[in-house]
């Protein structure tokens, strides 16, 4: 039995499916591909797959991963890639298979590219407002939790950022705290910005990479 990490992109139409739908999609592809992955042993056996860090609906992901257990230790990684890809919709594309180096729990940061645009505001104004906004000491938002609404400061969760004004959008590259315990969803950041700036913006969000607490690339 060997653990493997399968790397994929989630884009196009598949950007609009939830994590649960992605999970279903992957399980079906694993089942169809007949790759010797370990199955659960319950009443309804199904391939066992885990996702180190789920991606929100609407985001593109260029370096996403899923962990499975291979029953055949010598099974070729190339074969996994080619066999799985024919069983997947065009919005999900496998590009690499590796042996996992870090455990899923090590994920501490995620890097996002956020394209911001607005129909009635030019990019210079957005850039200015965004710089002001990100320079605030505190960015407080209301977060819904099991105990009701609570106010959290997401400024603490912004590790690094960079703003670039482009022709018809503003690109915000940002590294946010991520992981199972502390996670800042970039959607929260965007809506906090809308509140602050009183602008209505369209956002196109891509998750680029995951990192551990030492800012080493998650592998």
């Amino acid at each position: 039995m060997k653990n493997v990490r399968i790397w994929f992109k989630k884009d196009f139409e598949c950007r609009y499916i939830s994590h649960l739908d992605l999970n279903r999609c992957m399980l079906r592809a694993l089942h169809k591909s007949k790759i010797p992955v370990w199955h659960t042993e319950g009443f309804n056996p199904h391939p066992f797959a885990t996702f180190p860090l789920p991606l929100s609906l609407g985001f593109r992901g260029v370096n996403e991963c899923m962990d499975v257990k291979l029953e055949d230790d010598n099974y070729s990684f190339e074969e996994i890639i080619s066999k799985l890809n024919v069983c997947l919709p065009r919005g999900i594309h496998i590009f690499d298979v590796t042996e996992p180096v870090m455990k899923a729990g090590k994920i501490a940061f995620a890097e996002f590219s956020i394209k911001l645009s607005s129909e009635n505001t030019n990019t210079t104004v957005i850039t200015e407002k965004l710089s002001e906004f990100l320079a605030l000491d505190k960015i407080e938002i209301e977060k819904r939790s099991k105990k009701g609404l609570k106010t959290v400061d997401i400024k603490q969760g912004i590790k690094n950022f960079e703003i670039k004004e482009k022709f018809d959008f503003v690109l915000l590259n940002v590294i946010l705290t991520a992981g199972s315990s502390d996670n800042v969803n970039p959607n929260l950041l965007v809506s906090a910005f809308e509140n602050y700036s009183a602008l209505t913006v369209d956002s196109d969000i891509t998750r680029n990479d995951l990192y551990n607490s030492e800012m080493e690339l998650f592998r």
Binding site: E13, D21, L88
Partner: protein, 618 residues
């Protein structure tokens, strides 16, 4: 394929995955290299429509032809509809993202009457004129099929062509004719005229209806040389009939997210309330070899790990046990589970139970349909209480602890005692559990009793019957509720308001078209969904149009009245239906097709069960 404009809306709506296409196995063609573009519309949400087998069959079959590109269209849910209207985005097909108005054919499958408004609303969202008389060119031909096409009259003004019966052959004949007509530069009128001579095609605009003073039909006349009677089409050889070996695999979860394998069409039983039991006659089976091969291919190609055997009554498949044995040979190794819905109370044998249990233990649902034996005889259910209780005992001994029972209220000749018997039967099932020596240890039993309201349907022996009024149905619902004394029984009932509207549409005539038109204008949609349905608003519409819905729902017709659907022939004769109706009044049952031929008329197709050798004759 979604346009930039649509993408902007997607993150503002619930479950955007249903509006984007891009699924595995969707068919993409070059629109410039096909002759005919067909928009296959399901007048409900993506999750419901994608679960429908008929659409999967026709989608694959149409796309197998190089000259046709068939694409899928579903009704956007209310949030998306609102955004589309606000942003001026017309309804589009999922594969190409092109507006529905670009298509040659706009086809609807009509599975339930309450989806009529969705059909009109989808045309409206496409900016296609809803009335056929307003679509003058040879394009945007609106066609419709499915069980509700058996009484097409309430929507006769909107649909150019109805397909009567099974679509696999007739649809392609019509599409092909269209292609030729266009090549020859024919007009829409010429095309429709030619179409009307294809068997199984009904072109409502080629007929005139006149009415008596009391609102009943005086005459129904073809204009020109359109056929006076439209005969349904049916597939004769199920083993050689087209069946897809692959499905479009949805990206988001749908209602029935599994492979579906059809095992036969029709039903031998002839329950008197059941439209499907009459319009799909005669029973035609696929051979176990065909089913096995198709099932295997489907599971391999789709990657589904569950396959459901589909028919009106699975346990009536003549070779069910050999079939399950064949399927079990490979299904376990492939980690595929087989599910067998639509089991009859008397069909759940030890043998079947053990074969489906090897894979997945789903809930058990039975439909005794009525509480008292007399009532079950009236509807020709041919199930005895002892059989139900014995079946439940088998299930309990096999480890099941929950059973769902489906009933109907408002059936013809029903008395309050018959209604009370529903509660009693539920109790008897609970008692059976506790009498069972091998029942699961330490577990309690849960019996769900569901009561829906009877809707009289065309082409059934009850097509002349009045529906109970809403207050009477409410009374009966309350009576059952009060007659249940144990908490082990959970009682659900179906909203009588929707059943009432269903009854109006099911047996409506062309006078309802103006109500439909107004409903569309006022933005009615999703009547099958509690979120949107309002009987009050419908009653206002009827009132405005000067139409009394009770005329359709609650009126007893006489046997000699001309019914709105009398010009359509589904094989079963009207005389047979009258005979069956009279037998119902006498509490007399009719044996099923395999026991005895009752001369319903379907033997004229010279196929299926009508020509099987009966065991008692051999």
């Amino acid at each position: 394929m979604v346009s930039k404009e649509v993408e902007k809306l997607l993150l503002k709506v619930q479950k955007p995955g249903r509006y984007v296409g891009g699924e595995l196995n969707e068919v993409i063609k070059d629109k410039n290299s096909v002759d005919v573009r067909f928009a296959f519309c399901f007048p409900d949400t993506y999750e419901v429509g994608m679960s429908h087998l008929g659409m999967k069959i026709l989608y694959s079959q149409f796309n197998k032809e190089d000259y046709i590109w068939c694409e899928r269209v579903f009704a956007p849910w209310v949030d998306m509809e609102e955004e589309m209207i606000k942003n001026n985005i017309p309804l589009y097909a999922l594969e190409s993202g092109d507006p529905v108005s670009d298509f040659d054919f706009i086809g609807f499958t009509l599975q339930y009457e309450l989806s009529f408004t969705n059909m009109l609303n989808m045309l409206k969202l496409s900016n296609v004129p809803i009335k056929s008389s307003d679509r003058k060119e040879l394009k945007q031909i609106v066609v419709a099929g499915g069980p509700c096409a058996c009484n097409p009259e309430p929507i006769a003004d909107f649909v150019d062509i109805f397909f009567i019966g099974e679509g696999e052959e007739v649809d392609l004949e019509v599409i092909n004719l269209f292609r030729e007509c266009r090549k020859e530069g024919k007009s829409k009128a010429e095309f429709l005229e030619l179409c009307s001579h294809i068997e199984g095609v009904y072109v409502p605009s080629l007929y005139d209806v006149s009415y008596n003073d009391d609102g009943t039909i005086k005459s129904f006349q073809p204009k020109g040389d359109a056929p006076a009677v439209i005969h349904k089409r049916l597939i004769k050889d199920m083993d050689n009939c087209f069946y897809p070996d692959n499905f479009v695999i949805p990206l988001v979860e749908i209602v029935h997210d599994r492979a579906v394998q059809e095992i036969f069409r029709g039903c031998i039983r002839g329950c008197r309330f059941c439209q499907a039991g009459f319009i799909y006659r005669p029973v035609r089976e696929k051979s176990p070899e065909t089913i096995n091969a198709q099932c295997k291919a489907l599971c391999e190609n789709t990657g589904y790990d569950e396959v459901s055997l589909s028919s009106l009554s699975s346990s009536d498949y003549s070779q069910i046990v050999p079939l399950l044995e064949k399927l079990n040979e490979w299904s376990k190794d492939e980690k595929v589970s087989i599910s067998l819905p639509s089991l009859r109370v008397d069909g759940f044998t030890d043998d079947i139970m053990n074969k489906i249990k090897t894979v997945r233990k789903s809930g058990l649902t039975f439909a005794p349909e009525a509480g008292s034996q007399r009532m079950r005889d009236v509807i020709n259910k041919n199930v005895r209480e002892e059989e139900l209780l014995a079946t439940c005992a088998t299930a309990f001994e096999g480890g099941w602890t929950t059973v769902k029972l489906y009933f109907m209220i408002g059936l013809p000749t029903e008395t309050i005692e018959d209604v009370e018997a529903i509660a009693k039967l539920g109790q008897a099932v609970v008692d059976t559990y506790y009498k069972c020596p091998n029942k699961p240890k330490g577990k309690s039993v849960r019996v769900t009793v569901s009561a829906s309201s009877f809707v009289p349907k065309p082409f059934t022996p009850f097509q002349w019957e009045p529906q109970d009024t809403i207050p009477v149905l409410h009374e009966k619902q309350v009576h059952i509720k009060e007659s249940i004394t144990t908490k082990k029984i959970q009682f659900n009932y179906h909203d009588a308001d929707t059943s009432y509207l269903e009854a109006v549409f099911a047996r409506g005539d062309r006078k309802l078209c103006k109500v439909m038109e107004l409903a569309c204008e006022r933005g009615f949609h999703f009547d099958g969904w509690n979120d949107c349905f309002s009987l009050e608003k419908w009653l206002e519409l009827f009132d405005e149009c000067g139409i009394d819905p009770a005329f359709y729902a609650n009126r007893r017709r006489s046997f000699d009245e001309i019914l709105p659907w009398d010009h359509i022939d589904y094989g079963v004769t009207k005389d047979y239906l009258i005979k069956e109706c009279k037998k119902a009044y006498e509490n007399t049952t009719t044996p099923h097709c395999r026991l005895k031929c009752n001369n319903c008329g379907a033997a004229k197709y010279r196929e299926g069960v009508c020509f099987e050798k009966r065991k008692n004759l051999v």
